[in-house]
């Protein structure tokens, strides 16, 4: 992508501005997608995206410039132009390259570009047919395929030189069930840092039928009652609760500015002793995995909370400087348009001892959130909200009637204390997480959990 001598010249020129750290990130990404509505191809797109970004540190001040034009001349000009805002006469020098051999953690068996698009469209058609055939109430289906193949280069003045090929594929299905006055949706989006072998791992028709089942079930559901009561959140995408309620508050972006409710709490009990949470960017072929992060640091398995005690934040290079903390290999960015910062990779709550049956039967009255939708959080206050895609009431220790339109709200620090049962059935699910450095693939995950009291919004 860029010659080594060019990279050396760019970094050297960047350091001449007086910066004490200079980094070059370059990428070349090929992306393809197919979208179907009701079994007909509606969009088919291919894109080639290329660009580079130069980042300079002056102590804890950072400057970032980027462009599509990856010529040595242009990138040197960006580095110099960016430094206009800074004045420093101190000169730092570039360290020699240290190349570390990183083990490939996402081996790809079938590169997506070696499979014909017509074959990919066929998976989508089969899924659409299966969802449609599930019930006469299914009136619409949307199915989609995404492939991303990204080559990344990161080099910095401290001698880091890292390159990686990253391949991701994802299948999405949405089924809409309609009655005269109502429409309800069910959807899934399994994917991974893997090739077309994704379609050997998952069964697109079963996944589509499951989405259809949710839509049909919710179509007949009554509005969820509002109030404050126990909530049982099932495994898999239920992990979005931790992602939103706590994960974002553990990112150094928020912690370094003292803008997180979890700032200054390392070593303290911040959650129920039943809670252990881990961010692991090294899980083979997982959606949020890579060999190195977007600063060239090898990814790691970081224990964030252990038995309720806060053990670690997610720390990138710049915020690590501000906090005096070690980097954790989880500095990420959507693409060259974004400076990297601390983000989650695959973040999961570790399994506990209760079986799902024990959790349900121990709950007299409450809400069973079988499938979660998305949500968001304000890291400064810890206030979060998220939607329940598929919900049921629990009555007398048994799963009762389905309910729709439920929203869970609360504050991260409080909800962590209120987790009073943790199941033994961990599962991960895929999401796109949007934050300061763009939209990135992350896994969320957890076993079934019970929160003893939660505010549930609904219309019943």
């Amino acid at each position: 992508m860029l010659k080594r001598s060019s990279v050396e010249n760019i970094i050297t020129a960047a350091l001449e501005t007086g910066a004490d750290f200079a980094e070059l990130y370059a990428e070349r990404t090929e992306q393809g997608s197919i979208g179907m509505v009701n079994g007909r191809v509606e969009t088919a797109q291919s894109g080639l995206s290329c660009g580079a970004g130069v980042r300079l540190f002056f102590g804890t001040q950072a400057i970032y410039g980027y462009a599509n034009d990856m010529s040595e001349k242009n990138l040197i000009q960006i580095a110099r132009g960016c430094a206009e805002a800074m004045k420093s006469s101190v000169q730092h020098s570039r360290k020699n390259w240290r190349e570390t051999v990183r083990p490939c953690i996402n081996p790809i068996r079938i590169l997506p570009k070696n499979t014909a698009k017509s074959q990919k469209a066929e998976y989508l058609r089969l899924a659409a047919e299966a969802a449609k055939a599930y019930s006469p109430s299914i009136t619409q289906t949307r199915t989609g395929f995404l492939e991303v193949s990204k080559h990344v280069l990161v080099a910095n003045s401290e001698g880091v030189w890292g390159e990686e090929d990253r391949v991701r594929t994802r299948f999405t299905v949405e089924a809409v069930a309609s009655s005269a006055s109502e429409k309800q949706r069910g959807h899934f989006g399994p994917g991974g840092s893997e090739g077309m072998e994704l379609f050997e791992r998952i069964n697109v028709e079963e996944t589509a039928r499951e989405a259809a089942r949710i839509a049909v079930t919710m179509l007949g559901a009554k509005p969820c009652p509002a109030g404050k009561f126990p909530v049982v959140i099932d495994n898999g995408f239920g992990g979005v609760i931790f992602h939103e309620a706590c994960g974002h508050g553990l990112e150094a972006t928020a912690v370094a500015r003292n803008a997180s409710v979890f700032a200054g709490r390392l070593g303290q009990q911040i959650a129920s002793p039943l809670v252990t949470a881990i961010d692991d960017g090294t899980i083979p072929n997982a959606w949020g995995s890579s060999a190195m992060d977007d600063e060239g640091t090898p990814t790691a398995r970081n224990v964030l909370i252990e038995n309720g005690v806060l053990k670690s934040y997610l720390v990138d290079r710049l915020n690590g400087r501000k906090m005096g903390a070690a980097i954790t290999g989880s500095s990420r960015r959507q693409d060259y348009r974004f400076a990297p910062t601390s983000r989650m990779t695959n973040t999961c709550i570790a399994p506990g001892k209760s079986t799902p049956e024990e959790i349900i039967s121990a709950t007299e009255y409450g809400l069973y959130a079988r499938q979660m939708g998305g949500g968001s959080v304000d890291p400064a206050t810890g206030s979060f909200n998220f939607a329940v895609l598929e919900g049921y009431m629990i009555r007398n220790g048994k799963i009762a009637e389905p309910v729709r339109g439920a929203t869970l709200i609360g504050k991260g620090p409080e909800v962590l204390w209120d987790i009073d049962m943790v199941g033994n059935n961990p599962k991960r699910a895929q999401g796109m997480c949007g934050s300061k450095s763009g939209s990135i693939p992350t896994d969320v995950g957890q076993p079934m959990l019970r929160v003893s009291r939660m505010t549930v919004g609904g219309r019943g």
Partner: protein, 447 residues
């Protein structure tokens, strides 16, 4: 490669490969952003990006592909990928390229004052915002963000049928988010400014307003669950408009993703509701002389005094309905196909002040913020269940702050239930706007 040369080579290669018609949609963006923290530049960004989206007709089908690299080796990629993509698409979806119009509306895109602004002037303004925010309220000792940016975007669309349009536009944005703390309680408040006229920018006001908004939420508590009458501030209503604007897109109506099918000419909202989509609004954040298909921008009443007047069309959905495009065919990004999008999409304001609405309400809630829009809304059924915050209204006056509540309802019902609209106006940076509105009987979950 120089862009005109690239367009020509691409057109030539496409023709050789068998494309009968082709189009290049080009966009170039220059952007600058500075983030200030504690009187110093904490982050600074400068960029130039460009890209071309190609579409062409081959064998009676239309294919798309795009590139950010205007280099010789991108040309075979575009042509081959577009050919493979075209083969997947049904021939009945083939897109006829637009030859363009004789005349286009003239909008002032480039403001010279902004072009001439120096880096140090921008940094200085950002620092003044920060100072004003920190001095704006006793409880504010820290800012979440203090950002100032300028953007220049140029769009050029050319095709083999004769379309050749271009538009360049620049603007500046400022955003401050302040953190207010008292005891264990933390609140954030934010304020933004966006305009083409730098002289109209008041950095102190932007900072102060963010601080004021954060501090005034301190002391917030929930309310008992139940049905409440409420005034929704424009910003909260705009959040709902943003989530549900898709129900007015003809393409969603045609696919059954909207419940408005067959409702043209019928009353779908209270008579207080007039909803416009105006591409030509003076000073509008989403003003544009043409859409991504080259169709000229215009001003439409979508709902007029409660009556549904038109859907928003791109050329494809217009053809399906035997209608004319309303100039709402937009690409969300270079890689995105032309879909439907709003321009300046706003609820027209009324005559009463917000205080008069409070007076009419007597007791209820003033909802200022809604959260969780991307998850707590069902864009098909219109249902929403969202985390909200705001203030109590007691005896017609603004009372204590309210937090940790959810507001649940249905957007279609909400349009019918709007009793009155105020004469204030809030516009989001994307061009969605609303005055404060008065609605009765919202379902609120709280304590």
């Amino acid at each position: 490669m120089e862009r005109n040369e690239f367009f020509e080579q691409l057109a030539k290669a496409a023709e050789t490969e068998g494309f009968t018609d082709c189009e290049t949609y080009y966009q170039q963006a220059d952007s600058f952003e500075v983030l200030v923290l504690e009187g110093k530049v904490s982050h600074y960004e400068n960029s130039r990006t460009e890209g071309v989206s190609f579409r062409g007709n081959i064998g009676g089908r239309t294919g798309y592909a795009c590139t950010e690299q205007l280099a010789a080796d991108a040309i075979p990629f575009l042509v081959n990928a577009a050919k493979e993509n075209a083969a997947l698409l049904p021939p009945e979806d083939a897109e006829e390229l637009y030859p363009g119009e004789k005349e286009y509306p003239v909008l002032q895109g480039i403001h010279e004052g902004l072009e001439r602004l120096s880096v140090s002037e921008k940094i200085d303004a950002a620092k003044r915002m920060e100072q004003a925010a920190l001095a704006g309220a006793e409880e504010v000792a820290l800012l979440d963000y203090c950002v100032l940016g300028t953007v220049r975007v140029e769009t050029v669309i050319r095709n083999s049928r004769g379309l050749d349009v271009s538009f360049a536009q620049n603007y500046a944005t400022a955003f401050v988010s302040a953190i207010a703390r008292k005891g264990d309680e933390t609140k954030t408040g934010s304020y933004f400014w966006k305009d083409q006229d730098w002289n109209g920018f008041d950095p102190e006001k932007t900072g102060r307003e963010a601080a004021r908004r954060a501090a005034m939420q301190l002391g917030a508590a929930s309310v008992p669950s139940g049905k409440y009458d409420a005034v929704l501030y424009g910003e909260a209503m705009v959040a709902l408009l943003g989530a549900f604007c898709g129900i007015f897109y003809a393409e969603n109506v045609q696919k059954g993703f909207s419940l408005l099918g067959g409702k043209l000419g019928q009353n779908i909202a209270s008579t207080a509701v007039t909803l416009r989509d105006d591409a030509l609004l003076t000073g509008g954040y989403a003003s544009t002389p043409f859409d991504s298909e080259g169709v000229s921008g215009r001003n439409k009443a979508v709902i007029e005094n409660g009556t549904l007047r038109t859907f928003l069309y791109n050329r494809k959905s217009a053809k399906a309905d035997g209608a004319e495009s309303t100039g709402n065919g937009f690409k969300a990004s270079l890689t995105a196909p032309v879909k439907t999008a709003c321009t300046n999409f706003y609820l027209q304001k009324g005559t009463k002040s917000r205080d008069e609405l409070f007076e009419a309400l007597q007791n209820g809630l003033f909802i200022t913020d809604l959260m969780g829009l991307h998850a707590g809304t069902n864009t098909v059924s219109g249902d929403f269940s969202l985390s909200a915050s705001g203030f109590l209204i007691e005896n017609g006056k603004l009372g204590r702050p309210v937090e940790q509540i959810t507001i649940a309802g249905n957007f279609y019902r909400l349009l019918e239930a709007i009793e009155d609209v105020a004469n204030d106006m809030y516009f989001s940076s994307g061009g969605k706007g609303s005055p404060s509105i008065l609605v009765r009987g919202l379902d609120i979950a709280g304590m």
